[in-house]
């Protein structure tokens, strides 16, 4: 088994635990923004897509990479935008008065 796999597995397991502990504390009030925010964070795959598209190794991989860049970057832009729009609407009583 490659050494990279083992170190990635360590990272994955630790990040999974961190994710579990952090997300468990998110108020159920904000579960919809949570989903759109994690979606925007997950769109970080755009960095891998940029490398595939920019290396331009074959025509096929470049096209696949370019599609991936567009798809994930739309998630990144749209995800942050809608999350912030939603969170702006959550006001407490004292703030409204």
């Amino acid at each position: 088994m490659p050494a990279d796999f083992i170190s990635n597995l360590y990272v994955f397991i630790l990040a999974g635990f961190v994710g579990f502990e952090v997300i468990r504390r998110v108020s159920p009030l904000l579960h919809t923004p949570l989903m759109s925010l994690t979606n925007a964070l997950d769109a970080i795959v755009v960095v891998a897509a940029i490398i595939i598209a920019g290396r331009h190794e074959t025509r096929l991989t470049t096209i696949l990479g370019a599609i991936a860049v567009a798809a994930s970057f739309s998630n990144m832009v749209g995800g942050f935008l809608i999350t912030d729009r939603m969170l702006r609407m959550f006001k407490s009583r004292s703030k409204q008065q």
Binding site: M1, P2, D4, F5, N8, V11, F12, A15, G16, G19, V22, I23, R24, V26, S27, P28, L29, H31, T32, P33, L34, M35, S36, L37, T38, N39, D42, A43, I44, V45, A48, A49, I50, I52, A53, G54, R55, H56, L64, G65, A66, I67, A68, V69, A70, A71, S74, M76, G78, G79, F80, L81, I82, D84, M86, L87, R88, M89, K91, S92
Partner: protein, 462 residues
């Protein structure tokens, strides 16, 4: 600077991004800090993207910048949709996320001079299968939520056997590829079979189960990104994918608990099928109805009012009228709170967003478990567009299809008022004994008009 140095700077940018991502989710624990969370996430993402543009070996910037612009062009309108459309937007973004993970996995199979090893082939195959099925599955879910596709479960005899054989086919092809990685013909067939499985997986699931499905797809999209991190040996993808995946998983578990169902039951149990017995054996029972004027006078006399909104309220676009009702009652010194069932709406937390949009303060939105203890002290429980989540049969009637599902105990309130179009049963087709209780008053009519009429009556009382 040599390429080696640059790679180190890149790694530092990615580490900073990972830290900011975790902080971003941590800030989301409270509505007061949540917007800082978005900012942290944005800074992290921007850092990682900008750093990546300096990666050694990139020479075709056209193929990067044009897709980035297209992505922004698609992303901005998708970030500006109406709040009722957030569930389908979310499903669509799961589809995009899974699409890009699958595309990169596929590219990784064809890229490179050295042939992939068996181990790498296994990783790529798994990643591409999950990415592909999540892509088509999320598209179907988005179509159902947008009502382009029928919301009811589409079922046929032997469905589960067909779906599972398709999945087995995809896995079989993956195994064949691991045995012989250069077998390039099998790879596209495996992708197509996985795409078909995604369609078969979500098509039979009905609209009422969408909160669970959308969470599960969230989780799949996250784990496919994490797997991609394994394939590319990219820790930032492993971490972001693990965070997204565990978030989706936690939400799926919460949604399943809130409906007292298992994952297997949601995925393979087609909700619409088990209701045959529920309608049988129904005798004529009397219901009491009331006018807006009567409802207004009961509400004015109350000290504590609990409003139970359901998705029907959003369908009727009644949330702004509900806000007026909240204002009118609060002005009279009445304590008004909203009871939120975890599956109210079409995705986790959807009802909170709809009410927040109508400017109802979030400290008035109370979770089911918290409000249930207070309902016996409530003078009036007003149910607007909710049905099954208030059905006392879930507590008492073992033969009911929703038996065991946690509900909002509105029947414990002194008076229950239910705004409903007619006596027809709700989404799941289950009769609700709440409507026949002595303390229940039915307010027949459209939610928006009826709430508006109550508000007028309350205003006219001065």
């Amino acid at each position: 600077m040599t390429a080696f140095d640059l790679q180190q700077y890149l790694d530092f940018a990615y580490i900073a991004a990972v830290v900011l991502f975790i902080l971003s989710l941590k800030f989301l624990s409270s509505p007061t800090t949540a917007r800082m969370g978005v900012l942290a996430g944005e800074i992290g993402a921007a850092l990682a993207v900008i750093a990546t543009l300096f990666t050694p070996g990139l020479h075709e910037y056209r193929w990067i910048l044009i897709p980035l612009m297209i992505g922004a062009g698609v992303g901005v309108p998708l970030g500006l949709v109406h709040m009722t459309a957030v569930p389908q937007r979310t499903a669509l973004s799961h589809a995009f996320g899974a699409l890009s993970a699958a595309m990169i996995g596929i590219a990784e199979y064809y890229v490179g001079t050295a042939p992939v090893t068996r181990f790498e082939m296994g990783e790529i195959a798994l990643e591409v299968i999950i990415g592909s099925l999540t892509f088509t599955g999320s598209l179907i879910a988005a179509g159902k939520l947008q009502e382009i596709l029928p919301q009811r479960p589409i079922v046929y005899r032997g469905q589960n056997i067909v779906s599972l054989s398709v999945l087995a086919g995809a896995i079989g092809l993956a195994v064949a590829l691991v045995v012989n990685p250069p077998n390039a013909l099998l790879f596209p067939i495996m992708v197509i079979v996985a795409l078909i499985f995604g369609i078969l997986l979500v098509t039979p699931i009905g609209g009422a189960d969408m909160p669970t499905v959308i969470s599960l797809l969230n989780s799949y999209a996250g784990f496919s990104a994490a797997l991609l991190g394994f394939v590319l040996n990219s820790k930032v993808l492993v971490v972001a994918g693990a965070l997204d995946g565990s978030s989706g998983f936690i939400l799926s578990v919460i949604m399943c608990k809130a409906m007292n169902r298992s994952f297997a039951n949601v995925m393979f149990g087609a909700f619409g099928q088990v209701q045959a017995s529920a309608v049988a054996g129904k005798e004529e029972r009397v219901v009491r109805s009331a006018t807006a004027e009567e409802a207004a006078s009961i509400l004015s006399a109350a000290n504590k009012v609990v409003i139970v909104p359901g998705y029907g309220m959003a369908v009727a676009q009644a949330q702004h009228k509900v806000r007026e009702l909240y204002d009118a009652l609060t002005k009279k010194g009445i304590d008004v709170r909203f009871a939120i069932h975890p599956v109210a709406g079409r995705m986790p937390g959807h009802m909170n967003v709809l009410l927040a949009e109508a400017d109802i303060p979030y400290d008035r939105l109370v979770e089911m478990d918290e409000i249930n203890g207070d309902l016996p002290q409530a003078d009036v429980a007003l149910v607007i567009g909710a049905n099954d989540v208030t059905n006392p049969a879930a507590r008492s009637d073992q033969s009911s299809p929703i038996y065991g599902m946690p509900i909002i105990d509105v029947d414990k309130a002194h008076t229950v008022m239910v705004i409903k179009r007619s006596m027809s049963p709700g989404f799941a087709g289950i009769d609700n004994p709440l409507y026949y209780l002595d303390q229940t008053l039915m307010l027949f009519g459209d939610a928006k008009q009826f709430v508006g009429a109550i508000v007028r009556e309350l205003g006219g009382g001065h």
